[in-house]
Symmetry: D3
Subunit: 319 residues, 6 copies
């Protein structure tokens, strides 16, 4: 298949509310399809929230993100990038999950992404709660460990919950660092805020070299300075990007499980993501969109709009 076969349906031809919703109206390419060999960037859903310690619902994220994504058009208004021309993009469907067992679910997701990775497809994921980043990192896992730029209100570097339980949406990056999937000295976390339990997570991260940029620092220095620093930290290293929707202020994105007030606007988020262009990106995710806490779809619209920004960054990556 040629790039022409991987173009999204235009809203000039088919109204944006029509048709079965794939991500950004791209062709659906099943795991066993011959077309898979031609895919450069794969958009994937992980409809799972078994790691959620608070308000659930992120399992419904991929469905609603696909629904709203049919309002996305083809060209970036500020950078001019058309990611669908630069790469063959496709919807690879949802990873298999298990809402009734955490361990089994993590294994299923890992296996799915290992196959994606084996096919040399860059994954752009729609979660799901933040624990889904862990099996993705396991599947992408390589030596040396990856760098990461992480937009979030929380560090997700906690150790355990409820008396020793290690796998929740508050722990993925502690596990990933412990497992050698991420190089903590090349991890940048941006936007951290909200009341703290005791700060142990931040202390643990900083001891290992994680660069944690709290919200006040982001607000005071601005997106340009912060992204310049982040780019300096990850350099040319293979880098993963993780975007938790709760990074953005809940007035813009209320549909999430653990909102924290006092966050950045969507405009600031867009500018920050544009700061990723040209990095050596190996994948990205958008997690924690929880439709039951935002029936209107506004949060999912923010989510897919940021996914488009991430897609443009992936399409503009340095290989």
């Amino acid at each position: 298949m040629t790039n022409d076969d991987f173009q999204p349906v235009s809203g000039f031809d088919v109204p944006r509310f029509a048709g079965i919703p794939t991500f950004m109206r791209l062709p659906m390419v099943a795991a066993d399809s011959a077309a898979r060999a031609d895919v450069g960037i794969g958009l994937i859903g992980v409809p799972w929230d078994g790691g959620t310690t608070n308000r659930p619902g992120a399992r419904h994220g991929p469905r609603q993100l696909r629904d709203l994504s049919t309002m996305i058009r083809a060209v970036h208004p500020a950078t001019g990038v058309n990611p669908f021309k630069a790469n063959n993009c496709a919807d690879l469907g949802d990873a298999p999950v298990n809402p009734a067992d955490v361990t089994d679910a993590l294994e299923r997701v890992t296996a799915f992404y290992q196959a994606v990775h084996a096919d040399n497809i860059i994954p752009l994921t729609a979660g799901g709660d933040h624990l889904v980043s862990l099996p993705i990192l396991r599947a992408l896992g390589r030596k040396p460990p990856l760098a990461m730029i992480h937009y979030d209100a929380h560090t997700d570097l906690f150790d355990d919950y409820f008396g020793g339980f290690k796998y929740t949406h508050g722990t993925p990056f502690r596990r990933a660092i412990e497992e050698g999937l991420l190089d903590p000295a090349k991890v940048v976390q941006i936007g951290i805020r909200g009341t703290m339990y005791d700060g142990e997570d931040i202390a643990w991260g900083r001891e290992r070299g994680v660069r944690i940029i709290m919200i006040d620092e982001l607000m005071d220095r601005g997106h340009q300075a912060v992204m310049e620093e982040a780019r300096g930290i990850v350099g040319d290293h293979p880098t993963y990007v993780s975007f938790d929707i709760d990074f953005i202020d809940p007035s813009f994105a209320p549909g999430t499980g653990t909102p924290e007030i006092g966050g950045p606007s969507t405009y600031e988020a867009q500018r920050l993501v544009r700061g990723l262009y040209g990095l050596n990106l190996v994948g990205a995710d958008m997690v924690e969109v929880s439709p039951p806490f935002d029936a209107s779809g506004g949060t999912a619209w923010v989510g897919v709009s940021i996914m488009f920004e991430l897609l443009c960054a992936l399409a503009s990556r340095k290989s």
Copy 2:
């Protein structure tokens, strides 16, 4: 393709919130697919509400009906019918539409259904406003005209609106009778209620032989007696079924443009539709589900649950 290829995905294997939502998790069969030759019943969306005189939004119906339809399982709990075994069922996608021009939209829908009809596929449609029944009837049009069983709060037998405009969701069946697509003496309308303009629509219909069963008669006689009479009227004649969601009381199905209080429950609706089994059915539709007026999805859930009832009736039809 064999019947095994047309089975819906089971909720035992893939959670019902996962995956790209086709109608009832059936395979999507595009217009140019070789598989189309094997399809017996086609589920089709018509995302269009250009005939709406009051509150719009039915254009979003097919999207949300597909979304909720992934909670449908395979077997009817009362009749034991498994429609997916009895027929090869598939999602044929959405008919092409035009939100900016009524005439063009009607032509596009007619052409789409003519092709479906030419392929000997029985259509089960998800609207869209009620005007979409007209191009479907045009496409199915044959001599002699069809019979119809019509569940609705309104007759949709009005002549025109706003000073002579003939094509709205209040006029499809007047047009269809005028065009010779329906035999008025074989048309049964059930559930009519709501305040009236002047009753001209009812008078016009009755003069031509339409059997109009107002809500009080339905409530007093019950579903069994009413459906026996309806079956007697349509007999073995090729019969179309049109189900406007506003037939059901708005407490059960608020998401519609022209609700009328004092309607039947979903239970009564289910029993009524089961009265269609064994008729010579040539198609059916579920129209006027308007998601913007029911963000919770409750109405769409009613809509697809009734669509499953209609599908079982189509699967149990007498050919």
Copy 3:
């Protein structure tokens, strides 16, 4: 002005969502208008909920009831009554109120209705909480006291709240009986249900001759038998009708302050109200619609649909 001047705008001419919303698209007749002399039935709002002991919001009722009322057409589908032909109907606007003082508010409403009554206009009121019935009854007050048919989940015969406070939405009819405005032996209450404080209200009423028909009796005997009994009790006596929206089950009408499950359907309510035709009716009200607890407008739609039933009953009254 002639009856032609008091006709509602038709949805065939002006779409129902268009125009400034008066009740049922009737002409607005101000207190000082010459047209007032020609009005037979006046639709009036009382936007006040200062008597509410629980969840507030009924002050917003008239606004939303007017909004939804533009979907009402002219003719009753079952009885054929066109109330706008039988009487000159008009929107008289809202009674003056005071959200910050109960006593002052009751006086303002009484004065407004005294003027309406002096002009020989039959009032059809949209509340407001149920305490608004008291100043209306005061304004209508005559010797001998009025009869009343009252649809409600609660008796509103309580004595006082919060340590001796006598004027709340739970006390209007105890006050009205004490003040000699209602003849308790000619008062019928239908649909009473919900958990009770201690039953003192019911005992008090029954001791004075109020006929209290609990929900089970209504459900077991049916609307016809119950209304026959009610008609027998009020006979030819001048009779007021009070309809609390919480009479109807909250699945049909959730937007109210004190919902009680296990109530009648809107269909049953419609049939009950039709049992009022031909009585010597002197006024009616629809109270306790609370839009903040039902943003979708479904409850207000039920409310105005029942108001249309009440209007038809008023139009069919025996003078």
Copy 4:
């Protein structure tokens, strides 16, 4: 403490929206309180939905059920029962749970209820998803096995999901029968409906003697006949009652994870529960209220209103 110490706060004294919400405004009695020895019936929350295979959110049920429960008054309007006089009732708080591990969660809940049971307190539980009934039955477990009357749209007798996973909200009663906690010949299931996977659950239950009353049988025979049969089946045997909110039609109770249309009204549900009076009841639960799918609180209001009916039945039990 005497019965006077276990009386709910009256809405005549403190408005129903005021105060910290315990169940039905009862005193909170902690596990280590001396007052616990005097409690006869304990109202308990189990805020957990780790067994949910579809739409989550029942973990938020106890919070919202307590919130709405402050609108409950003291006396049953039809039977005159005041459950707070007949027994010392108290809110025992929430059972400990673990949202991140199914096995651990089941063990915590079992241990909590074993302590309740050891203190001779009858539990009235607010779930949580339906899997919470299993640890409760384990804690109540005795020889011989319990009888059960079960109101639900689903049998919850499924074997496993997602390839062998045995503990979900679709499997609790299969597990309970296998574990000898329930005597299948003394289990009655009422209201079963909704599309079926393949009917294996029903066949398995019927083979073991479970009496499964499908919705059509309930509708055709009525609450009185059905409850007479159910009472005959359980006789004087110690009996548990499980009430899944999805038993009730979703128009009355939309806030649940697996709604099925065509169900009974709340009125029918109330009459059915009143049929439990005088049985040898050992506990009851109300499960599957999922607030994120019904932000208005209507479903929780139905839930606590039915909980009050269950409480009156427990208070009227034969010991």
Copy 5:
């Protein structure tokens, strides 16, 4: 009539939720009223969305804008302008529309505005979708063509949709320029953003001299600099102002059909509109408020608050 007759009702006298809602509680002046001769600025609704290619509902805009507008008071807090003193303002009602025919609707609206224009009334319009600006411009049409300042996320300079259809809410200003109603060299568009089809609209506009200020330029330069430039471009020329609610970020104004994230705040919008004072303004509109996508009314509140800003600008215009 004098200016005293054109004062809005004060919230000190009548609570803001009371009364039939006209725009800003102004007197309603019908087309045939003698008072019309004294009106200087007319507030007009155009309840029509027949040009909408995506999510409908703007037809309900005028109704909800009027509803919320009763919370507007009389005096601007920053500039001190009282527009009701400076001019005789009135609600002129809704323009006639036709939801079933685009051509007829445009003609009806044009005719209505021609009469307004003939009466020397400055129109302040509440849409409706953005296509309503076209018939207004046709009615205002004069030689030489008008200047325009246009706040929007989209240029609305597209050529056609769905295969050649020229009249949609994405095309009004291309048509207006083609028809010679607007002088492209005197058109300023501010706030453009969102993913693009292909940029042809922007190229077409820029070729003809339209000054298009993308969101980044607005954010970087600020409201003062941008409005200074805009004022320089339109100079003393007769100027129309068009304000699409989607100019404002959807977190502030979600109720619109085509939201684009990353937009300005309401505060920034207010400051921008204040930059219009003293220009030679001939009319203004507020379009694309779509209540079904924002049942809470928050968007309409933003809309009418901006309408008040526009009204103050019109009242402070240079004639």
Copy 6:
């Protein structure tokens, strides 16, 4: 009791959705509890909105604020303050109220706070409408009068409403100044905006020395400069803090009765409140959260997040 007895329950131990919701999961200390002697800061609800002139519902504020408050953790992310270590904090329950009588309600609230004040407990209040600040100030009343820092969109310095009624949520601070409870020369009001009646309130305040900082001044000078000035004005004087949620832009906090667009973000609000550290604070309140106008709970989440900021400021006060 020691400080260990006043620690909030951790979300690491009990999930945040579990348990009966007290403010911030603190122990509930009843008025007659021995523990009260050890309380330093008391969190109190005043569920009352009898002073509301526009949209009601603030009576439901304390319930929903407590509900959302269980998502608050223990440590401030920017300042490191743990208010629960610095002081013994407890939930003192709700003040007694009377929804049916303004005068009685004010007296009940005053008496409750007098007892709190007598016990040397610093009150942090959750309203309720803004009139609740008046009885609190009366209870705290001392010589000389208090200073106040007041965040709000409105001055609440109006004289009367509806013809002379002096006690509404628009008048508390005029009354408080008249009664000598506040020293106007030490009152700072920040964020005033929204259309004005006539500006009399502002003129009255300024004449008496109130420093009124309109929104434009706040936006132009920034939080740091404004708080420096405010700190200078109140100096070491005993100071009360009143925070009306409508200070914050309604996109962040829609659930309030009198929203005004163009307000500060939550981030700006947080920074402003942090400017209170070290002042001689004697109490604070958060008022006008109205859940019926924001069922999602987003506004209450903002409210309790700001309450945590206020609590940290109280905990960091200079005595």
